[in-house]
């Protein structure tokens, strides 16, 4: 591991004044410590931010507020989250392992890095890790790689389940830096790789995620996260879907849909949301609504199955959500 200096700021102000280029914030450490061991991340200074007052789950008229340092396990188990936003709770419960969920923070989850094997292996070219070095995945082992939002520079899949659920719910992320605070829609927080895959989001050097707000959405109580993977547990998504439906009897009034395992960022599908609105729930209607879900997809040698898997994942998620007893 490369050497670094270490500090434990007690206030957000202290943390921000110490942060900057070459520094890394440490929360749960489940991504950062792993990638520092692999020499993929080599910060010169590590700030342990776990003493900052960035915890607390509460609901008010604006929606559900979650602190950046709240742990995945605590959010997943929170009664309000379970009852009012089950898609969030389920996405968290289906992530990682019990140990990792006890450690990993919400802010860190949103910033976790891709599981692309080439990104994690410093002996291979990777534009995300070393800009301009090339992409080994384009003609490499790319079965798990993205088909949406890709470029000729990078096809790495975004790994977070939580972010898929949050993007579907139009979640906002709160940021702080020495320049002040700002709030960004999570969907716009993430950037597609283009020619700069090393820039994954709009965070500026030294800027810190302080929390998120999930907007008030009463009908999100009818929501679900479905995760498809190569083994039943403790694995990243090959495909996943976050769906929420506002129903009037058997008719869909509004829908929220996003998918994981498919995109270079969590992928909201507003075209599917529109196609679902006004339809009567049923498998044939769902299949019609998701017909164009994978439009714009670019497959590679080993992931040609993903457009069909994406559509089937959506149909199964929608069917499960509209047939379960509630």
């Amino acid at each position: 591991m490369h050497p670094y200096t270490f500090s434990q700021p007690r206030s957000v102000r202290d943390a921000l004044s110490t942060a900057g280029p070459g520094a890394a914030f440490l929360a749960g450490g489940t991504t950062l410590v792993d990638l520092m061991k692999l020499d993929v991340m080599t910060p010169g200074h590590v700030l342990d931010i776990n003493r900052l007052p960035l915890r607390g789950i509460r609901r008010d008229r604006d929606g559900l507020h979650i602190g950046a340092l709240d742990r995945m396990s605590d959010v997943a188990a929170h009664r309000t989250v379970r009852e009012s936003y089950p898609v969030i709770s389920q996405a968290l419960e289906l992530s990682a392992s019990g140990q990792l969920r006890n450690m990993a923070s919400i802010g860190g989850n949103l910033l976790q890095r891709t599981r692309c094997g080439y990104f994690r292996d410093v002996t291979t070219p990777c534009n995300k890790r070393t800009p301009g070095s090339g992409c080994s995945a384009l003609n490499g082992v790319n079965r798990n790689h993205a088909i949406l939002g890709t470029s000729d520079a990078c096809i790495a899949t975004h790994p977070s389940d939580l972010a898929v659920a949050l993007v579907a719910l139009s979640t906002e992320v709160h940021l702080a830096s020495t320049q002040g605070v700002r709030t960004v829609l999570l969907d716009r927080f993430y950037e597609v790789p283009g020619n700069t895959p090393h820039l994954e989001n709009v965070l500026r050097p030294g800027e810190l995620i302080t929390g998120i707000t999930v907007p008030h959405l009463p009908w999100a109580a009818k929501s679900l996260y479905l995760k498809i993977r190569d083994r039943q547990s403790y694995e990243f998504a090959l495909s996943s879907a976050a769906v929420a439906l506002e129903m009037s009897g058997r008719t869909i009034k509004q829908a929220r849909v996003a998918v994981g395992g498919m995109g270079t960022k969590p992928w909201r599908l507003t075209n599917v949301e529109k196609a679902l609105a006004g339809r009567r729930a049923g498998e044939a209607a769902f299949e019609a609504a998701v017909e164009n879900a994978a439009d714009g997809a670019r497959t590679r040698a080993l992931n040609g199955f993903k457009p069909a898997l994406l559509r089937r994942t959506l149909v199964r998620a929608l069917t499960a959500l509209t047939t379960e007893s509630r």
Partner: protein
Amino acid sequence: MSSNDEVNDGQSGLSRRTVLGSTVAVAVAAPLVAGVAEATASSSAVAAAAETVSVRVKVNGTMRTVVVDPRVTLLDTLRERLGLTGTKKGCDRGQCGACTVHVDGERVLSCLTLAATTDQREVTTIEGLANGDRLHPMQQAFIERDGLQCGFCTSGQIMSAVAVVEEGRAHSDNEIKESMSGNICRCSCYPAIVEAIKDAQKVMR
């Protein structure tokens, strides 16, 4: 080796082992850094490597003070500095669960926990489970159900299993399997581990 050799009293600042450890870290770091960076960068990096952090952490009920390089994991601190080798290093990448310990009562992976972040916290390892010569019910159940073959994953399995029962996530075979999925057993003792957890749960409650 007695723990006095390895642990500081918190006042002298550096122990013999700490000084040796830091020196080794510098010696190793210098050529690595010099290989990828300019000489000026490596000299500042080496200076950083010499930095140590003093950590006061309660381990199995006893307050210990260790002075560590900020890169050192809790796992390596337990094994190499505190002589607690019951916690195993499997993958060292957060993928196998062999290094599971409890920090402030919650199961975590000690291989992805920096020792420097455990200041003022409470750590329980497999050595801290038994009550004197009386094994913890989970340890006893693993023996009675043959929940191990080679045994390398076992301390992680047991630490995780104790937490799973305390979390209330052991109501069915399927729930136990899901809750224990972060602990890999290459010998594939999973059925016996599930039975052991069900047995221990009855005694623990």
